[in-house]
């Protein structure tokens, strides 16, 4: 329940409770106004996190080739669907099991929501209703799978990916998530991750890394030891994606306050935006220096890098700290993208650099900047990042291996050359528009 926040919230909720008590004297007591406001805010945050799925779909489609676009859109439409359904059936009860041993707990299948006299218990949580809670958390859950999608794009089999995603969102994300947000062992140790630099982004990022390694590079990416760039097919689509993701982050971070507390939410929004802006500038400077030409795709990654970086401590930072966290994340992502490429790990959209590398950076930054900075906290952050890393990497390896052994992971070479759109879907993304030979060979 993002429990560190609870102390801060207490004060706010107590104040809100005053009119709530007053109302109880009224003939037919309804929800308190404080709950009503916070619930509106949390619903808005939910919508914003929802639209991140369109952001991811657009970004991933934009940064890959048009012959695989239908496949990418298909995956990204299925992910929130599968994510929500498995989270409703399984995930939510795994992630927030209530009292548990700190490592694994389960509150039961379906949504065992608290009721009072046949209706939803509105005293369940002063900040929002159970339904709002579920939906907000459910939208979060699906993002972890989406992150993987980008790194394995253009070569993974559709059904294998869907199976992986269902298990990853249904089991891995919520169980590991319970360690911190569910009040588990890492939470008890003092590990801090405000909105998920580690719990969402690194977790997704580890899945991405393992997936990219196990699949191998796209045909034609590394030829005779040389890196051949495979440019994405639509920069406008990629840009739309990043703006929608930034928009969504208002809800991702702002909603993680879990109430409409004016000071806390608005501070979080400001740190989030400053980090995003600084990430853009950091990436621009870095790419301009390294490549001499400012690379749009890198700047877009830089924006996300700043956002991922600030996510762990968005409520703990001042403006200056947010700026530096974002700026460094922006530089880091550029260097990381190039390094990972040189390691011959093929990540078409830079998901590993954005979500894993900057997710770790953001988690550690909580120990370096802002209200919680300190050597001890830094150690705990390191431990937390490590614990998530090992667990998720192992889990992802196991799932991908089983899927590989049973259904296979990678499409046939012929299908890859021809494009997954025809191979998997029998449909083209742009049937009217002539494609350049470039879409098929790197020569033109």
């Amino acid at each position: 329940m993002k429990s560190k926040l609870i102390i801060k919230l207490m004060l706010f909720l107590m104040a809100l409770a005053v009119p709530a008590f007053a109302e109880e004297a009224a003939p037919a007591a309804g929800p308190s106004l404080g709950l009503t406001i916070s619930n509106v805010w949390m619903m808005v945050a939910t919508f914003l996190v929802f639209i991140m799925h369109l952001g991811f779909a657009s970004l991933e489609a934009g940064l890959t080739r048009s012959k695989n676009t239908v496949n990418i859109l298909f995956k990204n439409t299925l992910i929130p669907a599968i994510g929500l359904l498995t989270y409703a059936w399984l995930g939510f009860s795994l992630m927030y099991p209530g009292e548990f041993n700190g490592i694994f707990g389960f509150a039961g299948f379906g949504l065992p929501f608290p009721t009072v006299a046949g209706a939803l218990d509105l005293a369940y949580n002063e900040g929002y209703t159970y339904w709002t809670d579920f939906l907000f958390q459910g939208m979060f859950a699906a993002t972890a799978a989406t992150i993987v999608s980008g790194a394995v794009a253009e070569r993974i089999k559709l059904n294998s990916f869907l199976v992986f995603s269902a298990i990853f969102v249904g089991l891995v994300y919520p169980i590991t998530g319970s360690w911190k947000w569910g009040g588990g062992w890492l939470d008890s140790m003092g590990f801090y991750d405000f909105a998920g630099s580690t719990l969402v982004h690194s977790v997704g990022g580890w899945g991405a890394l393992i997936g990219a390694i196990m699949l191998g590079a796209r045909k034609g990416k590394y030829v005779n030891g040389k890196i051949k760039p495979i440019p994405g097919h639509s920069m406008p689509l990629a840009t739309i994606g990043v703006f929608l993701l930034w928009l969504g982050w208002f809800g991702f971070n702002g909603g993680s306050v879990l109430s409409a507390d004016p000071a806390l939410v608005s501070l979080t929004l400001v740190t989030t935006c400053i980090a995003a802006a600084a990430g853009i500038v950091g990436a621009m400077i870095t790419t301009w220096i390294i490549s001499k030409k400012p690379d749009l795709s890198m700047v877009l990654n830089g924006c996300l890098a700043g956002l991922v970086g600030i996510t762990a401590g968005a409520d703990q930072m001042g403006l200056g700290s947010s700026f530096w966290i974002g700026l460094i994340a922006g530089g880091l992502v550029v260097v990381s993208v190039m390094a990972i490429d040189r390691l011959k790990i093929d990540d078409p959209v830079g998901a590993i650099s954005v979500h894993l590398v900057c997710g770790i950076w953001g988690t550690l930054a909580v120990g370096l900047f802002g209200a919680m900075a300190g050597l001890k906290q830094f150690g705990i952050q390191l431990l937390g990042a490590g614990a998530y890393g090992i667990t998720t990497a192992v889990a992802a390896t196991v799932i991908f291996s089983v899927v590989k052994a049973t259904m296979g992971l990678r499409v046939s070479e012929e299908e890859e050359v021809e494009g997954l759109d025809l191979g998997e879907h029998g449909l083209e993304a742009y049937p009217d528009l002539a494609l350049r030979p470039a879409a098929k060979s790197s020569a033109l």
Binding site: K228, P229, P231, S291, S297, M338, D341, A443
Partner: protein, 112 residues
């Protein structure tokens, strides 16, 4: 009859068409092509990796002409399409055995 096929730079197409019109050529066909030759391609950078795009966009025009107009047509194209810089393109001349106007069935020079 001859078929004159010329690879030229895009922004010269207007001028070439007008010049051909002036010397009585009433039709032509243009095709988007990519050319590789002495002219260097341009370097692009994507995510930190530089690469050369070797084929450059050009436009190819095909003009069927009666034999007696061949020299005029070649001269017109060459003059108008020229910038003097590498990559201006080439003119190719083929023999054309027959032409049919689909609408009327006319054949040979009639059909041009």
């Amino acid at each position: 009859m001859k078929m004159v096929s010329a690879i030229i730079k895009h922004f010269k197409l207007d001028e070439v068409r007008d010049a051909l019109n002036k010397i009585g050529v009433q039709g032509m066909t243009a095709i988007e092509v990519k050319g590789f030759g002495r002219q260097k391609g341009h370097m692009e950078v994507y995510r930190g990796v530089e690469y050369e795009v070797k084929f450059l966009p050009k436009v190819k025009i095909e003009v069927a002409v009666p034999g007696n107009k061949l020299d005029d047509v070649i001269r017109a194209i060459q003059e108008k399409a020229k910038t003097g810089e590498i990559g201006d393109g080439k003119i190719f001349v083929y023999d054309l055995e027959d032409v049919v106007r689909i609408r009327t069935g006319e054949r040979g020079e009639e059909a041009l």
